[in-house]
C-alpha cells in the first residue's frame, strides 16, 4: 500500500497537470472525464426536471392552463429523451469513468483520447436537442419513442432530434467499447474475471448490450430520416412499408436500453450493501450469472411494448412468457441483497439508505412489471398512467436512486471531503416521500383509465393528478438540496479519510488516499 502511496505522490510534481478551461477541453484523464460526465448529466437532469415540472404544472388541474397541447407534447417528448439519453446514461458512464479504472487497478481508460471525444460529443447533441425548442415548428412532439407516421409529420425539430440521437449513440458506442477494452485488458495482475467487483461486472455486461443495440437505434432513426426526406417508405404503408416495423426495431433497441439503465445501478447497490452490512456480497457468482441472464433475456422480450399493436396469439404468448422469465434473475438479485444484509452489522449512512430505498421501490416497479407482462392486463394498462408509474419506479427510484447512492458512497474518494450526513439523510427521506407521492397515485390513475401523453383529463382524475403534481414539485425542489449538498461537500466538507466506510473492500478504498490522486495505479497492485 505504501508503495502505491509513494508512487502517486512522487509523480505529482512532474505530472503534466494543466489548468484552466483547456484542462477540461483537452483532458484524457479518466477522472476529469468522469467528473465532466457527472456534471453534464446533472445539468441535463435539471433541464429534464424543468420539463417535468412544466408537465405536472399543466396537469395540476383539468383544463388547459399553461401549456397548449402541442407544446405539452414537446415537453413530454423532450423530457423522456433528455432524461434517458442526457441524464441517466451519461451519469452511469461518468461512474464507469471514475470507478472502473480504480476498481480494477488500471491507470486510466484504454482509449484515453477517444474517451475525451465521446464526452465532448454530448454537449453538441444536447444543444441540438434542447435547441430544437426554438426552431420553427418547435421540438419533436411524437413522444420519446417517436413512432411514425406521427414523427414523419413534425418539422425540423424532429430532424434535430434524429441527428442528436445519432451523436448520442456514437458517444455511447465509443464509451462502451472503451469500457469493454479497459475491463478485459487492463485489470491488475491476479484480478480474474470472477474476482472483479460487481460494479465492474455489471458495466461490462451493460457495455456489451450498448454495443449490440445502439447501432440498431441509429439504424431506425436513419430509416425515419430517409422516410422524411429521401422518399423511402420503410414505415409508410402507402409505399409498401409498415409503421409497426418501426416499433419492432425501436424496441429491439428500447428494451435492452432499460436494462442498460438499470444493470449498472444493480452494480452500485451491490457494492454499497456489503460495505454497510460489513459482510461480503452473498452469492457473488449467482449475481454475475443473474446479470448476464437479464441481459440476454432483455434481447428477446421487446414486443411486450407492443401488445396492443396486434400480433398473433403465439407472438403475444412468447413475449409474455419471456418477459415474465426476467422476474427470476431479478428476484435472485433481491434475495441475494437480502441475504447479504442478513446477520450483518448494518449502519445506515446515506448511501445505504438510498440503496435500501432502491431495493424497496425497485421491487414495487418489478411487481408492476410482472403485472404489465400479463397480456390481458397489459392491454388494459398499455399507454395509461399505470405504465408511467411502472417505469418511473424502475428508472427514478431504480436508476436515479442508485446514482444518488453511488455519489454519496464515492464522493469522499472523488473530492477528499465528506458530505453532510444530515443533509444527505434529508435528501433521502424527502426524495422517498415526494417520489411516492408523485408516482404511487399514478397507478390508480392508470387503472382507472387515464391515458398517458394527454394535457387535459376528465374530472374523475383530478384529485390524484393534483397530489401527483404537488409531489413532483416537492421532488424537484429536493434535488436542489442535493446540488447544494454536493457543492458544500466540494467546498468545505470535512476532510475524508482514505477509508471512510468500515466494510469497503475494493481497490479504490484499500489502496488509494482520499481524494484519489490525479494519476493512480501507474504500477498495478497485485491481487491475491
Amino acid at each position: 500500500m505504501a508503495a502505491v502511496h509513494g508512487d502517486a505522490h512522487g509523480h505529482e510534481h512532474d505530472d503534466h497537470h494543466p489548468s484552466g478551461i483547456m484542462r477540461w477541453v483537452k483532458t484524457t484523464n479518466h477522472k476529469d472525464i468522469g467528473t465532466m460526465y457527472l456534471w453534464f448529466s446533472f445539468t441535463m437532469f435539471m433541464v429534464g426536471g424543468f420539463l417535468a415540472m412544466g408537465i405536472r404544472a399543466e396537469l395540476y388541474q383539468p383544463g388547459i392552463q399553461i401549456l397548449e397541447p402541442e407544446l405539452f407534447n414537446q415537453f413530454t417528448t423532450l423530457h423522456g429523451l433528455i432524461m434517458v439519453f442526457g441524464a441517466i446514461m451519461p451519469a452511469f458512464v461518468g461512474f464507469a469513468n471514475w470507478q472502473v479504472p480504480m476498481m480494477i487497478g488500471a491507470p486510466d481508460m484504454a482509449f484515453a483520447r477517444m474517451n475525451n471525444w465521446s464526452f465532448w460529443l454530448l454537449p453538441v447533441a444536447a444543444t441540438m436537442l434542447v435547441g430544437s425548442f426554438f426552431v420553427p415548428g418547435g421540438a419533436a412532439a411524437g413522444g420519446w419513442t417517436f413512432y411514425p407516421p406521427l414523427s414523419a409529420q413534425g418539422g425540423i425539430g424532429v430532424d434535430l432530434m434524429i441527428f442528436s440521437v445519432h451523436i448520442l449513440g456514437a458517444s455511447s458506442i465509443m464509451g462502451s467499447i472503451n469500457i469493454i477494452t479497459t475491463i478485459l485488458n487492463m485489470r491488475a495482475p491476479g484480478m480474474t474475471l470472477m474476482k472483479m467487483p460487481m460494479f465492474v461486472w455489471t458495466w461490462l455486461i451493460t457495455a456489451y448490450l450498448l454495443v449490440l443495440v445502439m447501432p440498431v437505434l441509429a439504424g431506425v432513426v436513419t430509416m425515419l430520416l430517409t422516410d422524411r426526406h429521401f422518399g423511402t417508405s420503410f414505415f409508410n404503408a402507402a409505399g409498401g412499408g409498415d409503421p409497426v416495423l418501426f416499433q419492432h426495431i425501436f424496441w429491439f433497441f428500447g428494451h435492452p436500453e432499460v436494462y442498460i439503465m438499470i444493470l449498472p445501478a444493480f452494480g452500485i447497490v451491490s457494492e454499497i450493501i456489503p460495505t454497510f452490512s460489513r459482510k461480503p456480497l452473498f452469492g457473488y457468482s449467482s449475481m454475475v450469472y443473474a446479470t448476464a441472464s437479464i441481459a440476454i433475456l432483455s434481447c428477446v422480450v421487446w414486443a411486450h411494448h407492443m401488445f396492443t399493436a396486434g400480433m398473433p396469439a403465439v407472438g403475444q404468448l412468447f413475449f409474455m412468457y419471456a418477459t415474465m422469465l426476467i422476474a427470476v434473475p431479478t428476484a435472485v438479485k433481491v434475495f441475494n441483497w437480502t441475504a447479504t444484509m442478513w446477520r450483518g452489522s448494518m449502519t445506515f449512512e446515506t448511501p445505504m439508505l438510498f440503496s435500501i430505498g432502491f431495493i424497496f421501490l425497485f421491487v414495487i416497479g418489478g411487481f408492476s412489471g410482472v403485472i404489465c407482462a400479463i397480456v390481458p392486463i397489459d392491454i388494459q394498462v398499455q399507454d395509461t398512467y399505470y405504465v408511467i408509474a411502472h417505469f418511473h419506479y424502475v428508472l427514478v427510484s431504480g436508476a436515479l436512486f442508485a446514482l444518488f447512492a453511488g455519489v454519496y458512497y464515492w464522493i469522499p474518494k472523488w473530492t477528499g471531503h465528506m458530505y453532510s450526513e444530515t443533509l444527505g439523510k434529508w435528501h433521502f427521506w424527502l426524495s422517498m416521500f415526494f417520489f411516492n407521492m408523485t408516482f404511487f397515485v399514478q397507478h390508480f390513475l392508470g387503472l382507472a383509465g387515464m391515458p398517458r401523453r394527454i394535457p387535459d383529463y376528465n374530472l374523475q382524475f383530478a384529485d390524484f393528478n393534483m397530489i401527483s403534481s404537488l409531489g413532483a414539485f416537492g421532488f424537484g425542489l429536493t434535488q436542489l438540496l442535493f446540488l447544494y449538498l454536493v457543492i458544500d461537500c466540494i467546498r468545505k466538507g470535512e476532510k475524508a479519510p482514505q477509508m471512510p466506510w468500515d466494510g469497503a473492500t475494493t481497490l479504490e478504498w484499500t489502496h488509494l488516499p482520499s481524494p484519489a490522486p490525479y494519476h493512480t495505479f501507474e504500477t498495478p497492485p497485485v491481487i491475491k
Binding site: 409498415d242 448494518m346 403485472i371
Partner: protein
C-alpha cells in the same frame, strides 16, 4: 410472537376489506362489462395478492434484519457468503409462481384473439382527431358516421364549469346491442391511434394501411367511455370513444332511425380512400 401474528392478521384483513371496497372505485379497473374484462379484472386482483404475499415475505425478512442486525444494537457481522441450495431454491420458487400467473392469462389471450362468428361487425377508423364508424355486417349494416368530441371549447379553456363527462363525450355514440358478439375492425387514416374501452376490456392500436380486429360482448346496457390510447398529435387527448349498449329492441329502433336518414348520411360521408 403472538402480538406479531395478531398484527399481521389485522393487516391482511384490512387489505382484504380494502380490496373488496375498491371494486368499482377509482382505485381499480372500471367495473368489468364483458367476459374478457372480467377475466382481466380477476387476474389483476389475483396478481396483486400474490405480489403482496411476496412483498411481505421478502421485506419482512429484510426489515427484521434491518431492525435486529444493525451495528447500533451491537450485532456482529457473520461471514457467510454462499449457498448453492439457497440459490437453487429461490430460483425455482419464482418460476413456479410465474407458471401459476401465466396459466389463466394464456387462456384469456387465446379467447381475446377469437374474433370468429360475430353478430355485428363495425369498422372503426382513427382520424386526426376523431373516429369514423362503419357498420359492415349484421343488424345495422350500412350505418356510417363520424364521432367527435362534443365537450365545448369553453370548458377546456376554463371559461365554463366542466361537465361530468368532460372530454369523454361525443356527438355520435357507437351503439351496439347487449349480449351480442361485436367484432371491431380497426384501422387509421393518418397516424397511429388506439381504440380503447376499458370497461369492455378492449384496446387495439389503429394502424394506417393495416387492419386489426378485436371483439367484445357487452353484459349490460349502459354507456361505456374510453379515450384514444396512442399518441396521435396535438389533439390526442380530445378524441374519446363512447359505446352505448342497448337492449335488443332499443337497438332495432336505433337502427331503423339511422337507416331512415341513411341517404343524407351517405352523401355527407366523405370517403378518404
Amino acid at each position: 410472537m403472538r402480538s406479531k401474528l395478531v398484527a399481521t392478521l389485522a393487516g391482511v384483513s384490512t387489505l382484504a376489506l380494502y380490496s373488496s371496497l375498491a371494486v368499482g372505485s377509482k382505485y381499480n379497473f372500471p367495473e368489468p362489462q364483458s367476459i374478457i374484462a372480467r377475466e382481466t379484472y380477476d387476474q389483476h386482483i389475483a396478481l396483486l395478492w400474490i405480489c403482496l404475499a411476496i412483498f411481505i415475505a421478502v421485506f419482512g425478512v429484510m426489515f427484521y434484519s434491518i431492525l435486529k442486525h444493525r451495528k447500533s444494537v451491537g450485532h456482529k457481522a457473520a461471514n457467510f457468503h454462499h449457498s448453492t441450495t439457497a440459490e437453487v431454491v429461490w430460483t425455482i420458487i419464482p418460476c413456479i409462481i410465474l407458471v401459476v400467473m401465466a396459466l389463466p392469462a394464456t387462456k384469456t389471450v387465446i379467447a381475446m384473439k377469437d374474433t370468429s362468428g360475430p353478430d355485428i361487425t363495425i369498422k372503426a377508423t382513427g382520424y386526426q382527431w376523431m373516429w369514423g364508424y362503419d357498420y359492415l355486417q349484421g343488424e345495422g349494416e350500412g350505418i356510417s358516421f363520424y364521432s367527435k368530441l362534443s365537450t365545448p371549447r369553453a370548458q377546456i379553456e376554463n371559461k365554463e364549469p366542466k361537465g361530468e363527462n368532460y372530454l369523454l363525450e361525443v356527438d355520435n355514440r357507437v351503439v351496439v346491442p347487449v349480449g351480442k358478439k361485436v367484432r371491431v375492425i380497426i384501422t387509421a387514416n393518418d397516424v397511429l391511434h388506439a381504440w380503447s374501452v376499458p370497461a369492455l376490456g378492449v384496446k387495439q392500436d389503429a394502424i394506417p394501411g393495416f387492419i386489426r380486429d378485436t371483439w367484445f360482448t357487452a353484459d349490460n346496457p349502459g354507456i361505456y367511455r374510453g379515450q384514444c390510447s396512442e399518441l396521435c398529435g396535438k389533439d390526442h387527448g380530445y378524441m374519446p370513444i363512447v359505446v352505448e349498449v342497448m337492449a335488443a329492441n332499443d337497438y332495432a329502433q336505433w337502427v331503423a332511425a339511422q337507416t331512415k336518414s341513411a341517404t343524407i348520411k351517405t352523401s355527407m360521408h366523405i370517403e378518404n380512400k
